[in-house]
C-alpha cells in the first residue's frame, strides 16, 4: 500500500496542480469568473424552456420536460467537453512532453477531472430547477453515481484514443467534430425515445444500446421521471444492460492500452 502510494504520489500531486491551473485559466479575464459555470446551464435552461415547452412542444407526454432536457444536455456537454477537448490535448502539451518525463495519462485524466468538476457545478443548477419543478429527491437518486462513473470512463476512453490518434493524424479533429454532430442526433437528447420507439422499435433498440443513450436515459429515469424510457422498457430483460457497460469496459481497456503504447513516442511525434 505504501509503495503504491509512493508510486502514484507524483501523479497525484501533478494532477491536482494541473486541474487547478485549468480552472484558474478557464475564466481568467472574465468579470463573472466562476459564476459562468453556473450561469451557462441556467441560461441554457431558460432557452430550452421557451423553445420546447412554449413553442415546439415536442415532449408533451414527458413530465418536467425542460428539466428532462437540461439533464440530457448537461451530460452531453460533459461528453463533448472531455472528448473534443482531449483531441489536441497531447499535441498542445508537446512543449512540456519534450522537456520533462511524466506519466502522460495525467494530461487526459486532468482534462476529465476538470470537466467532472464542471459537471458537478451544473448539477447544482439542475437541483435548483428540480426543486422549482417540484421533483422530489429520493434515495434512488444516488444510483446516478455509478452512472456518472460509467460516463467518466466512457468519455476518458474516447479521450485516450482521440488524443493519441491525433498525434499521428490531424484529421481526427475534423472527423470527431462530424461524429459528434451525428451522435448528438442519434442519441435521444432533444427528443423523447418514444418518438422513435413508437414507430421503429428496432431502430430504437439499437440506438439505446449506445452507452451515451443508456446513461442519459438511466439518469433521467432516476432523477427526473420514471417515465423516461430505459433499456429495460425496450428489451424486457435486465441482462441487456451488460451490453453498453461491457462496451464501455472493453473500449476503455483497448484505448488505454493503445494510449500507453503510443505515449512512449509522444515526445518525438507530438
Amino acid at each position: 500500500m505504501k509503495r503504491l502510494k509512493q508510486k502514484y504520489r507524483y501523479s497525484y500531486v501533478l494532477l491536482k496542480q494541473l486541474v487547478k491551473t485549468d480552472f484558474k485559466l478557464r475564466y481568467q479575464g472574465s468579470v463573472l469568473g466562476y459564476v459562468w459555470s453556473l450561469l451557462r446551464p441556467f441560461l441554457l435552461f431558460i432557452t430550452l424552456y421557451f423553445v420546447f415547452t412554449v413553442f415546439l412542444r415536442v415532449g408533451k407526454g414527458v413530465p418536467h420536460y425542460p428539466v428532462y432536457l437540461l439533464v440530457g444536455i448537461v451530460i452531453w456537454n460533459y461528453f463533448v467537453e472531455v472528448t473534443a477537448g482531449s483531441v489536441a490535448a497531447i499535441v498542445s502539451k508537446g512543449d512540456l512532453i519534450r522537456k520533462i518525463n511524466f506519466p502522460k495519462y495525467i494530461i487526459i485524466f486532468a482534462g476529465s477531472a476538470s470537466a467532472l468538476i464542471n459537471l458537478l457545478l451544473n448539477a447544482i443548477v439542475i437541483a435548483v430547477f428540480m426543486y422549482f419543478n417540484h421533483i422530489g429527491l429520493h434515495l434512488n437518486d444516488l444510483l446516478i453515481i455509478p452512472l456518472i462513473f460509467e460516463l467518466f470512463i466512457m468519455s476518458m476512453a474516447l479521450a485516450f484514443l482521440l488524443s493519441s490518434l491525433y498525434v499521428k493524424f490531424r484529421d481526427v479533429g475534423y472527423i470527431w467534430e462530424v461524429v459528434l454532430q451525428a451522435a448528438f442526433y442519434a442519441t435521444p437528447i432533444l427528443y423523447p425515445v418514444s418518438v422513435i420507439s413508437s414507430t421503429h422499435l428496432r431502430i430504437a433498440k439499437v440506438l439505446m444500446l449506445n452507452p451515451m443513450a443508456q446513461i442519459i436515459q438511466d439518469i433521467r429515469y432516476f432523477l427526473v421521471t420514471p417515465s423516461a424510457i430505459t433499456l429495460y422498457n425496450l428489451f424486457d430483460n435486465y441482462y441487456v444492460w451488460f451490453i453498453p457497460i461491457g462496451l464501455v469496459i472493453i473500449f476503455f481497456v483497448i484505448s488505454a492500452l493503445y494510449f500507453r503504447k503510443r505515449s512512449r513516442y509522444f515526445a518525438e511525434e507530438a
Binding site: 504520489r9 507524483y10 500531486v13 501533478l14 491536482k16 496542480q17 494541473l18 487547478k20 491551473t21 484558474k24 485559466l25 481568467q28 512540456l96 512532453i97 519534450r98 522537456k99 520533462i100 518525463n101 511524466f102 499521428k168 493524424f169 490531424r170 484529421d171 472527423i175 512512449r264 513516442y265 515526445a267 518525438e268
Partner: protein, 392 residues
C-alpha cells in the same frame, strides 16, 4: 562502495523516422498507398549511434558537442523523455525528470501560481512548496513581483525564478542542459555556487554544454559527441582540446574569410597566412596596382563576441612606409603576443591612404585563428601573469 555506477548507457542508438512525405492525415495514407512505394521510402535519421559510457555516483559529467551533434537527444534519452531505438540506459538513484529550467511555466499565471505549478512538476505537494516558498522567492530576489503575471517578467527574472525552483529538486542525479547560456554575471555566479554545492554533496550531475570554459570549470569527466557518435572520453582538458581541434583543423587558416571588403582597389591584400603559437603571426602579401605615397597598413583582432581586442597600424608603430610601387608585391608580417583566451578570433586588415580615411583595401574578417589555453580566464585577455612569493 565509492565507485558505484549512477548511469549506465549501453550501446544506445536513436533514429528518427523521416518520411519523405510526411503523412499526417488520413487522406495522406490513402494517396501514399496508391503511390505504393512512396509510403515505404522512409529515411532513418540517426540522432545518436552506438553510444556507451558510464557515469559514477558523485561525478560531474560533461557532454560536449556542436549544435545538432546529438547531445541533447542523448540527454533526453537519459531523462526517459525519448525511448532509445536500440540499447539500454540504466539509472540507479532518483533522477530529475526535467532537462530545462522552468518546465511548465505558464505566462498567464502569476509568479506565485507558477511556483506551485512548477513545484508539482518537480514532485512537490502544495504543502511542501508552501513551507519552502519564502526561501524560493528570496533566492530568486523577486519578493515584489510574485503576484504579477509571469508574462510581465523579464527573461532574466523568469530564469531566476526557474533556477530557484530547480535548486530545490530532490534527486540524486541532475540533468542540466545549457543553463549558463542565459542570465547575467550575477546569475552565473549563483549557478556556480549551486554547482559547487552539488559537488560538495556528491550529487551526480550530467551537464550538456558547448561552453568549454564551463566544462573545464566544473566537470570531472566528459565525453565528446560529434556526428551522432561518441568521439572521445576523457578529462575536461583533453575534451576541450579535442573539441577545438576537431572543429578547426590546424591548416585551414583562411577558411572563414568573408567577402566583406571595400576600398579603391589601388592595392589588394592576398595570401594571408596565420600561425598560432607563442605569438600570433599574420603574414600577408599586398599586390600594388598604382603608386601610393605614404600608405598606412593596419590590423585588428576581434573575438567571437565582436569585441575589438587589439589592433595597430604602422603609424602608431612609427614605421613609415614611403611608397608602394606599381606592380610590386609587398610582403609583411604582423606578430602579436599570444595573450588571448581560449576561443576563435577574426582579423580585420586594412590599407588606407596617408589621411587614414580614404580606404584602398579594407577587409573585414580576412582570416581567423583559434587559441586553446589550458588555463582560461573569464577576462578579455589572458596574458601570462606571473606570481612570486617572497619569504621573509
Amino acid at each position: 562502495m565509492e565507485e558505484e555506477v549512477a548511469i549506465k548507457v549501453d550501446n544506445v542508438s536513436k533514429s528518427f523516422i523521416l518520411p519523405h512525405e510526411k503523412v499526417d492525415s488520413v487522406k495522406g495514407i490513402f494517396t501514399s498507398m496508391l503511390k505504393a512505394k512512396k509510403w515505404k521510402t522512409k529515411e532513418n535519421q540517426h540522432a545518436i549511434k552506438n553510444i556507451s559510457f558510464e557515469i559514477k555516483k558523485g561525478e560531474f559529467f560533461g557532454i560536449v558537442g556542436r549544435n545538432g551533434s546529438g547531445k541533447s537527444t542523448l540527454l533526453k534519452i537519459i531523462a526517459g523523455i525519448y525511448q532509445p531505438t536500440k540499447g539500454k540506459v540504466k539509472v540507479s538513484g532518483k533522477l530529475v525528470p526535467f532537462i530545462e529550467l522552468g518546465v511548465g511555466f505558464n505566462p498567464e499565471l502569476t509568479g506565485r501560481e507558477n511556483v506551485y505549478l512548477n513545484g508539482a512538476m518537480l514532485g512537490f505537494s502544495h504543502k511542501e512548496i508552501e513551507s519552502m516558498y519564502n526561501d524560493i522567492v528570496e533566492f530568486a530576489e523577486l519578493e515584489k513581483f510574485m503576484d504579477q503575471k509571469l508574462k510581465n517578467y523579464s527573461s532574466g527574472m523568469q530564469v531566476r525564478l526557474a533556477f530557484s525552483m530547480a535548486t530545490r529538486a530532490k534527486a540524486d542525479i541532475l540533468l542540466i542542459d545549457e543553463v549558463l547560456a542565459v542570465g547575467d554575471a550575477d546569475f552565473q555566479r549563483k549557478c556556480f555556487n549551486y554547482f559547487k554545492e552539488l559537488k560538495k554533496n556528491k550529487k551526480t550531475v550530467v551537464f550538456v554544454s558547448h561552453d568549454m570554459d564551463a566544462i573545464r570549470e566544473y566537470c570531472d569527466k566528459a565525453i565528446l559527441i560529434d556526428d551522432s557518435m561518441l568521439k572521445f572520453k576523457g578529462t575536461p582538458e583533453e575534451i576541450s582540446e579535442r573539441y577545438i581541434i576537431l572543429f578547426n583543423p590546424k591548416e585551414s587558416t583562411n577558411k572563414s574569410q568573408s567577402n566583406e571588403r571595400w576600398g579603391s582597389g589601388e592595392a589588394k591584400i592576398k595570401n594571408i597566412k596565420i600561425d598560432t603559437g607563442k605569438n600570433i603571426k599574420v603574414f600577408i602579401e599586398i599586390s600594388v596596382k598604382k603608386n601610393i605615397d605614404n600608405p598606412i597598413v593596419g590590423i585588428q583582432v576581434i573575438d567571437g563576441a565582436g569585441v575589438h581586442i587589439c589592433g595597430t597600424n604602422n603609424i602608431i608603430l612609427k614605421q613609415k612606409i614611403h611608397e608602394f610601387n606599381k606592380n610590386k608585391t609587398i610582403k609583411l608580417e604582423w606578430s602579436i603576443p599570444n595573450i588571448f583566451n581560449t576561443g576563435r578570433y577574426s582579423i580585420d586588415l586594412a590599407i588606407t591612404h596617408q589621411d587614414g580615411i580614404s580606404q584602398i583595401d579594407w577587409w573585414h574578417d580576412a582570416g581567423s585563428f583559434e587559441v586553446v589555453n589550458k588555463a582560461s580566464t573569464p577576462h578579455l585577455v589572458a596574458p601570462e601573469i606571473l606570481i612570486n612569493f617572497f619569504e621573509d
